[in-house]
């Protein structure tokens, strides 16, 4: 169904138009084209997408402050390259959710598969469940908050931004890290090349509190997190570091 409605009981602000896209009845192309038709505008309308059934590239390429609720599980690259959009996925996501996001908010109420937030430049990605391997790979300024745990090689080659993990992190966390910051509350199975634990100063605790608040993660105390970052030993090739290469 393509039209207006209240969309699965979502509470709406008065006067805000709700557009509902049922992907059993309209194509993914039609959905994305309709979203892109708002690109460059300041339109902040509310959209609901239903019957996603694992489709790929749902709501990819948004460039307007649209509020999009995706009811159901999605495949690869949901909200890919998002700019300004406020996208909530009520379900699990396949690989590469919010890949290369520039700004805005992407929230996953379930679990996210591998490469969540890959190479994202900005915005906030919130994963309320767990994330798979390579969460935050090559991140370039995005903030990622994971309420659960993440798999191996989290923040691989991460350049900028903050990755907050309220649960545990898998092996090779922060391998070949640049300037991104990683906060972990639970256990870290192992650190990757050039990633080291760094002291938590007051500024880091404040930063963490703000991130948890922005992400709407309640019930997780900012105290007790550990901070990880780059030892910066691999920034220039040095033959003395050859064992690390």
């Amino acid at each position: 169904m393509l039209g207006t409605g209240t969309g699965d009981g979502l509470q709406l602000e008065p006067l805000k138009q709700m557009r509902v896209f049922n992907l059993d009845e309209v194509s993914l192309r039609e959905l994305n084209q309709a979203l892109h038709d708002c690109n460059g505008s300041d339109e902040a309308s509310a959209w609901t997408v239903t019957n996603t059934k694992g489709k790929h590239a749902v709501a990819a390429g948004i460039d307007a402050p649209l509020e999009v609720t995706v009811n159901g599980h999605v495949g690869y690259y949901c909200a890919g390259m998002n700019k300004q959009g406020q996208v909530t996925i009520r379900g699990n996501t396949g690989p590469g959710v919010a890949e290369n996001m520039m700004s805005g908010l992407v929230r996953v109420t379930g679990n996210a598969s591998q490469y969540a937030g890959a190479s994202a430049h900005g915005g906030l990605l919130v994963i309320e469940g767990d994330a798979g391997s390579r969460c935050g790979i090559s991140m370039k300024g995005v903030d990622i908050v994971v309420r659960g745990s993440i798999g191996h090689m989290g923040a691989f080659m991460a350049q900028k931004g903050r990755l907050v993990i309220c649960g545990d992190a898998g092996t090779a966390l922060g391998d070949s890290l640049y300037e991104a910051r990683i906060y972990v509350k639970g256990k870290v199975a192992g650190l990757g090349a050039d990633c080291v634990e760094k002291p938590m100063a007051e500024e880091h605790e404040r930063e963490l509190e703000q991130l948890l608040e922005q992400a709407g993660i309640n019930g997780v105390d900012a105290a007790g997190f550990r901070r990880y970052g780059s030892a910066r030993k691999l920034y220039h090739f040095n033959v003395d570091n050859v064992d690390a290469y």
């Binding site: 993914l28 192309r29 994305n32 084209q33 892109h36 790929h56 590239a57 990819a60 390429g61 460039d63 495949g75 690869y76 690259y77 890919g80 390259m81 700019k83 690989p95 590469g96 890949e99 290369n100 520039m102 490469y115 890959a118 190479s119 430049h121 390579r134 790979i137 090559s138 370039k140 300024g141 691989f156 080659m157 350049q159 900028k160 640049y178 300037e179 920034y235 220039h236 090739f237 033959v239």
Partner: protein, 444 residues
């Protein structure tokens, strides 16, 4: 009487010639492998090993300067709403801002635009200068994703997913600290002055099945307007071409091992990948096998220097070629004008390959403002346009000699090979025979 050079009668080792001895001593002195730019320097089977047969009793030639021989190429006819229409079958390969100076990138855009062809971004994102001066600009999606953003994706005329390049199939990018200026660092979201080792694998897909989904995402984001290229370094070209077709490419770019680089380990440049000559034939065979020849367009690159190279690549079945190092040479790279400065850098015009170093006296492969200011992008663009015109005229000359009124009408039947190796690699007969070595063997 002048003293005789004693090396004239001393016997040099074939296993350890002076160049090898120098390499070993350099490695022992520095403890690091040699990193350089340019492309493979070793002798390889090339298009020079093929000749055109020309018209004769059984073929009519076309009149030069009188009878038309068209050169236009359309790229991206498979899925894109807006395919690229090129006037000539020669494009400019991806070269990054970072590896090259901003005025050099501008000159590439100016030259390409003047003759109606495309230029390509590189590992480092799209600069305003190159977008402004390139009528047709191909935007590369690389593993590093430096500077990647949806605005530039939509401002581009085509998207090139880079899986690999001929100089280093299986290798990532490399930009050494001395070239990481404040502007380059900002575009790449990295600290100034550090070595940048771009990833060798994409961050959000692995393998051809994932790539098919990735390409669909790129098409969705750009509303199915842009042609999507897949660029591969020549190695397992037959299978890679098939997989690229299956992944949904509109255009496949195959870069042979002579392809250029701004910074790569010498051992990688000289020892990984296969030459352009067999690569073009393998790619065409794969396309034909899938009934996709001319439906998915093929661009071939790696050591293209002359209209003869262009014509031979097209005759073997490519739709267009791409040039990198040759374009830089046209801009003024390795010019004798700078011999004194090359000498101060321990090299000489004609040998300079330290693109990684950042001290390029021509102002082309540098991020030094002082050196870059030497390079005039308007003059450089004009030189490149001249060179592209010569390549096109030479290609037309050869096509007319074979009686073809479009450069795409040349075919392998117009060619003969001068060496057994070239005959086997290109699968055209050894000159004066009907022998194609390996013809009865599997194509791949």
């Amino acid at each position: 009487m002048p003293e005789k050079d004693i090396t004239e009668w001393l016997r040099e080792s074939a296993t350890f010639p002076r160049s090898v001895i120098a390499d070993i001593q350099r490695a022992a002195r520095t403890g690091i492998y040699d990193i350089r730019g340019f492309g493979a320097k070793r002798a390889l089977p090339t298009f020079d090993d093929l000749v055109f047969l020309g018209a004769s009793m059984t073929r009519y030639p076309l009149e030069g300067y009188r009878e038309r021989c068209d050169t236009n190429v359309t790229l991206g006819t498979r899925y894109a709403k807006k395919p690229l229409e090129l006037k000539i079958p020669v494009t400019i390969a991806g070269m990054s801002f970072g590896a090259l100076s901003a005025p050099a990138k501008e000159a590439l855009g100016r030259g390409a635009t003047e003759v109606g062809t495309s230029t390509t971004t590189g590992d480092g994102g799209m600069t305003q200068e190159e977008r402004e001066h390139s009528e047709l600009l191909v935007y590369q999606l690389l593993p590093s994703r430096y500077g990647m953003n949806p605005d530039d994706l939509r401002r581009a005329d085509a998207i090139e997913v880079v899986v690999g390049q001929g100089a280093k199939p299986g290798g990532g990018g490399m930009l050494l600290g001395q070239k990481i200026s404040a502007r380059v660092a900002e575009m790449r979201d990295l600290p100034e002055g550090i070595d940048q080792r771009s990833a060798s694998r994409h961050p959000d897909w692995t393998g051809p099945d994932d790539l098919a989904i990735k390409i669909r995402e790129l098409r969705e984001i750009t509303d199915w307007e842009k042609p999507v290229y897949i660029k591969i370094g020549a190695s397992r070209t037959y299978f890679d071409t098939m997989l690229a077709v299956k992944a949904g490419a509109d255009v496949i770019v195959v870069d042979g091992m002579q392809g250029g680089t701004a910074a790569t380990q010498e051992v990688f440049i000289e020892h990984v990948g296969i030459p352009t000559l067999p690569a073009v034939r393998l790619a065409v065979e794969a396309l034909k096998e899938m009934d996709m020849h001319r439906k998915v367009q093929l661009i071939v690159s790696g050591g293209i220097r002359s209209g003869a190279d262009v014509a031979k690549a097209l005759a073997l079945g490519a739709d267009a070629v791409s040039i990198g190092v040759a374009a830089l040479i046209a801009l003024g790279d390795n010019s004798p004008e700078f011999e004194e400065e090359y000498r101060r850098l321990g090299t000489s015009a004609g040998f300079y390959d330290d693109y990684q170093d950042g001290r390029d006296p021509t102002g082309i492969s540098t991020q030094s403002d002082e050196l870059a200011a030497r390079f005039d992008p308007v003059k450089g663009g004009r030189r490149l346009a001249n060179y592209l015109r010569v390549l096109t005229l030479e290609t037309q000359t050869l096509a007319r000699a074979c009686g073809k009124n479009h450069v795409h009408n040349m075919e392998p039947e117009d060619l003969a090979a001068l060496t057994i190796e070239a005959a086997a690699m290109a699968r055209v007969p050894l000159a004066g025979t009907d022998w194609v070595p390996g013809e009865d063997r599997p194509k791949k």
